[in-house]
């Protein structure tokens, strides 16, 4: 007699921001098998990049692959095209780009923390973290003019400069945020009811992290030292005080803590960047058409983002390959579900910070 029962989650569900459908094979409350359908938001961006848009426009199109990590998409594409054009940006441009990427990482990590709390049943904590996230959104709006999807990066530079007023605003808001994050770390570490939902739940072992090529916070929470910020020389991350954050237990608690400590690190980097901003132009003329093949890796909030761009000296590119973090993280995620309780599934899912619009493009 069949002893298992199939329970679906999605594609529309209160705990999901985006459509994804899971089919859990459950034995009583325990999940023993997972099947996922991730293609709900496939729009065909890769095709449009090589048929419809010219290479100067594509940077703004690929930003629409994902709203949360839009800046890393346009950054990786821009870096790839700049490599093909034989142009290297000056230090001021690099620093301003890093500043926006790190601000984006802070707000994305905070959203993930809030969402995990909501899915684990802590509605008040969700509201609290969402409120504390707003100062970062204010900074982004002040710098770029939009809260999300800010199209800040263009080929050959960035679109807006950092004025002294903005520097003061950044320092003020980040100082407030820094205190809140310290309090949050204390809360996540010591609160008993949070520990019931977070500690020891949804464990990814180091061995499995290697086998399934886990990446981003998911891998670093399991102790796998993989961060593109230390593996790529496109942006000078060492110069602004980057340190890798590693945890070892691999559960939801560890993933939350990786995110919290990365926020602390990102705040420090943002302050360094604002204080030590080099002098220079923010927009330089880049001539020519992309020819050849270039690969770029950038650490998005969810892990490694990979772009392969091939051009043939025309306005229209030959191939834009987008490999997004969640896309290659899905086998590892499915592995984590096996053996955990069905009631924990929404919290585990949110703790991966999955981005379906990235996955399906």
């Amino acid at each position: 007699m069949k002893k298992t029962v199939q329970i679906p989650l999605g594609s529309q569900h209160i705990s999901l921001l985006e459509p994804i459908r899971f089919k859990f094979e459950c034995e009583n409350e325990k999940i023993i098998g997972v099947d996922a359908d991730v293609g709900f938001v496939h729009r065909g961006v890769e095709l449009a990049c090589t048929r419809k848009f010219e290479f100067k426009q594509v940077g703004y199109v690929v930003a629409r692959v994902c709203g949360l990590c839009a800046i890393t998409h346009s950054l990786s594409y821009t870096l790839a095209v700049e490599k093909l054009l034989g142009y290297e940006a000056n230090d001021r441009i690099k620093y301003l780009r890093m500043l926006m990427v790190e601000l984006d990482r802070i707000h994305s990590h905070m959203l993930c923390l809030a969402h995990t709390a909501e899915n684990a049943g802590f509605e008040a904590l969700f509201m609290q973290i969402m409120a504390q996230r707003e100062p970062v959104m204010d900074i982004q709006e002040a710098i770029s003019g939009n809260r999300v999807q800010f199209d800040y990066i263009s080929i050959g530079g960035v679109n807006r400069d950092l004025t002294p007023d903005l520097s003061a605003l950044i320092h003020k808001n980040l100082a407030a945020l820094s205190e809140k994050v310290d309090a949050l770390m204390m809360l996540f570490d010591t609160n008993w009811s949070l520990s019931l939902k977070y500690k020891g739940i949804g464990v990814l072992s180091l061995e499995n992290a290697y086998t399934y090529n886990a990446l981003g916070p998911l891998a670093r929470a399991a102790g796998l030292a993989s961060d593109v910020r230390s593996e790529s020389s496109d942006l000078p991350y060492e110069a602004v005080g980057y340190t890798m954050v590693l945890e070892s237990s691999g559960d939801i608690h560890a993933r939350n803590f990786v995110r919290l400590r990365e926020i602390v690190n990102s705040i420090a980097m943002c302050r360094n960047i604002v204080d030590n901003l080099p002098v220079g132009e923010i927009q330089e003329k880049v001539k020519g058409k992309p020819k050849g093949e270039a690969v770029v890796r950038v650490e998005a909030p969810r892990g490694e983002l990979f772009y392969l761009v091939r051009g043939s000296g025309q306005n229209i590119l030959e191939r834009v390959r987008i490999k997004t973090p969640t896309f290659s993280g899905i086998p590892a995620m499915m592995e984590v579900f096996k053996g955990s309780q069905y009631a924990d599934a929404p919290a585990i899912l949110a703790s991966f910070d999955p981005c379906m619009s990235c996955t399906a493009k």
Partner: protein, 114 residues
């Protein structure tokens, strides 16, 4: 970025001897349409802890030829292989269609429609 050419028959042996899961991070499988029924396939790896070290195994194949699957060696390759099956209409042994496209979508959109 290093590019190493391989062939369909030696692909599994090449990647099997090369790949060590504690040293190499498997990125993805990639396909590039070359026109006239030809496609370049790439298997992309990067090294943990090393700066800018990317290795691409590539081969040039035709759309009709079946491609061996590397899921046995690298389980996480399943996503990339399902994607090239959908987007290029290739046959990869043991990999099914339907990651992104529905029945009424344009079939194999990234293949050049000549």
């Amino acid at each position: 970025m290093t590019k190493i050419e391989t062939t369909l028959s030696s692909l599994l042996a090449d990647i099997g001897t090369f790949y060590d899961k504690k040293i190499w991070h498997f990125l993805t499988v990639n396909g590039i349409d070359l026109g006239e029924g030809k496609i370049e396939l790439q298997w992309i790896f990067s090294k943990y802890g090393a700066k800018d070290e990317i290795i691409i195994y590539y081969l040039i194949s035709e759309y009709e030829t079946a491609i061996p699957s590397i899921i046995g060696l690298i389980p996480s390759a399943i996503m990339g292989e399902r994607e090239i099956v959908d987007m290029f209409g290739l046959t990869v042994s043991g990999v099914e269609k339907g990651l992104y496209l529905d029945e009424d979508s344009i079939p194999h959109p990234l293949r050049s429609q000549s």
